[in-house]
């Protein structure tokens, strides 16, 4: 074999080896084709409004495959849950355990629409089946800037309200509860292959606008992106402005005054064999932060007192760690799988 031939064979085998090796690692580790987290947050931010107040994300596939989830399923799972999952799959074509890769959702308190939430789900979807199911339930399809917009405005007519009856009930004296017909302003569209947007119609239309290149998105909200940068490494997180939610909620004054003066809050979690979570809150000033830390410290002490005679809960409470400096207050918890085993033993088993 000449040197030229030898080099060719080596290069060819190298390409095959690297390619197959990468694919194998991706298959076992669950590494996505595109990184969940770029420097400036998940790519789904591009389709969310820049005024989004709360943004959250869950790596569904990763969590479904986690050891903790398997343990919880073994302990608390039931045939009814399995049947529900199977029925959901038959109706939508979506296997919740494997087809949905991740969900990113946002809440826009500045939106004037009745429904201010937008959910973006990435995964493998049978668009035809989903559309057929929604049409079967009264949805209409319109075209919006080249995308099919499925409007669920008549999703819950009165004559289907009888289905509100609990089918598991054996009490024949219970009369079916009639719910009034109610319209929703929900819409669903497939923004791009493998990405479905569902939520309030104006927000879904805005997502389509952002996809086709118009407007500013949450990815250009510097404050939001700055808070997202610290969330790498977690497979579930929420970031938001509590003060904006409070304004939107229009709470009575005496209730609003009870809520601490928190601006940004962050909840991040890593679910694998156990749960490692951290809740971080930014107070308005140092004094508010100190007061908040005192309050949390008090609750922790109370919790430790209450659980002193319950070892299964004690380990959980002991894992809570208060921290943070300046205007930041953080509460971290690290719960290994054994705690969930103990909690499961303490909680009565669900009826099948």
């Amino acid at each position: 074999m000449s040197a030229k031939t030898r080099y060719f064979v080596i290069v060819s085998l190298l390409i095959m080896g690297v390619g197959l090796g990468t694919g194998l690692v991706a298959y076992y580790v669950g590494f996505p084709a595109t990184a969940f987290f770029s420097k400036n947050g998940p790519e789904e931010l591009r389709y969310m409004p820049s005024t989004a107040t709360v943004v959250g994300a869950v790596e569904v596939r990763e969590i479904m495959a986690s050891d903790l989830r398997q343990r919880l399923k073994d302990k608390f799972g039931s045939d009814a849950q399995d049947n529900s999952r199977r029925q959901f799959q038959e109706l939508t074509g979506i296997n919740f355990e494997t087809d949905i890769e991740r969900i990113v959702a946002c809440f826009d308190s500045h939106s004037s629409a009745d429904n201010t939430a937008l959910v973006l789900a990435r995964g493998t979807f049978d668009a035809t089946k989903i559309e057929a199911l929604m049409r079967e339930h009264g949805a209409e399809v319109q075209d919006y800037r080249g995308k099919r917009l499925i409007l669920a405005t008549k999703l819950f007519p009165e004559d289907t309200a009888d289905h509100a009856l609990n089918n598991d009930s054996n009490d024949t004296d219970v009369q079916p509860r009639k719910l009034p017909a109610h319209n929703t302003n929900m819409a669903l569209t497939f923004i791009e292959p493998g990405l479905v947007a569902f939520g309030g119609r104006p927000l879904v239309e805005q997502a389509i606008d952002l996809h086709t290149g118009g407007g500013s998105s949450a990815a250009t909200n510097d404050d939001l992106v700055a808070h997202l940068r610290g969330l790498e490494g977690s497979n579930a997180w929420i970031v938001g402005r509590l003060d904006a939610i409070r304004e939107r909620a229009k709470l009575p004054e005496f209730v609003a005054n009870q809520i601490p003066p928190i601006t940004w809050f962050t909840v991040r979690g890593q679910i694998d064999g156990g749960v490692a979570a951290r809740i971080t809150a930014e107070a308005r000033d140092d004094e508010s932060a100190n007061q908040l830390r005192d309050v949390v410290r008090g609750f922790l002490a109370l919790a430790k007192l209450q659980t002193s005679s319950k070892p299964e809960f004690q380990r959980f409470v002991q894992s809570l760690q208060l921290g943070g400096t300046g205007t930041t207050v953080s509460l971290a918890v690290d719960v290994p799988a054994q705690v969930f085993d103990a909690l499961g033993a303490a909680v009565p088993k669900q009826k099948q």
Partner: protein
């Protein structure tokens, strides 16, 4: 003097044939053939990045779907049979045309070892070119709306299917090349005439084709976009995977045995 055994002789022939086959003029055609899907994949990737993939009736094309279509239409239905025809038929025919077969047959090695060694070099040559091409296409296409990890089993199955297909077609056409005077024409008629037609005819005829068993190995790669293919898939009876593997192995072994026997028995008359 004892005649060397077939396998060691075949390996010796394989060693010098591999380089000969790789760096021949025919390899330019081979490079174009395996380079075209990569160029196509690059183009698709650029278009997808700029404009997104087309949406058909609300369902968008995803990378894995496109990869399956490319595998079926490009590799399985075109590249693999073409490579089998052009290289398989030329294993002995080229030596006859170049009048160099005398030198091979005067060596103290079994004639069938010469054919076997050339067949192994053909297989190594096409596998070392086609499989990396498929892998590059995979990494270019699948990430568009898909997952490399999730689609990896499909890639592994497709690579296995390609190796089996190349081996089967190569064996069949090596026999055609050893047996017939104009093997290229017969090979092309078989690959693109008989194989395409017989799959459409209901009944047992389709079992006399390589494509019937090959497509059973990766049925998901078949596109369902046209009414004809949808109709075909409704009436198609695909054999089980193990049946396909056994039959394709049988086709390869029988093809090589027939080719070896033909080479042993036939007197090649060189044209003056």
């Amino acid at each position: 003097m004892e005649t060397p055994r077939v396998i060691p002789s075949a390996l010796r022939v394989f060693e010098f044939s591999l380089g000969q086959m790789l760096w021949s003029r025919r390899s330019v055609f081979l490079a174009l053939l395996v380079g075209a899907p990569i160029a196509m994949a690059l183009g698709i990737r650029i278009i997808a990045a700029a404009h997104g993939l087309p949406v058909i009736n609300g369902a968008g094309l995803t990378g894995p779907t496109l990869f399956g279509i490319l595998m079926w239409l490009l590799f399985v239905r075109f590249i693999v049979p073409v490579l089998g025809v052009f290289y398989g038929t030329s294993l002995i025919a080229d030596e006859v045309d170049d009048k160099t077969i005398t030198y091979l047959f005067t060596r103290p090695v079994p004639r069938s070892a010469v054919l076997l060694g050339k067949y192994f070099s053909y297989l190594a040559c096409v596998v070392l070119l086609v499989l990396p091409s498929v892998i590059v296409v995979y990494f270019l296409i699948v990430p568009i709306g898909g997952s490399i990890g999730q689609s990896f089993p499909q890639l592994a199955a497709d690579l296995g299917m390609l190796v089996v297909g190349l081996a089967s077609y190569g064996a069949v056409f090596s026999w055609v090349g050893a047996r017939l005077k104009r093997p290229l024409i017969v090979g092309l008629v078989f690959a693109f005439g008989w194989e395409s037609t017989v799959l459409l005819i209901p009944g047992y005829l389709k079992r006399l084709s390589v494509a019937y068993y090959l497509q059973a190995l990766v049925p998901h790669a078949m596109p369902q976009d046209s009414s004809i293919s949808s109709l075909l898939s409704a009436f198609q009876e695909l054999p089980a995977v193990w049946v396909s593997l056994v039959c394709l192995t049988g086709i390869t072994v029988v093809g090589l045995w027939l080719a070896g026997r033909t080479v042993e028995k036939r007197e090649y008359v060189l044209e003056q």
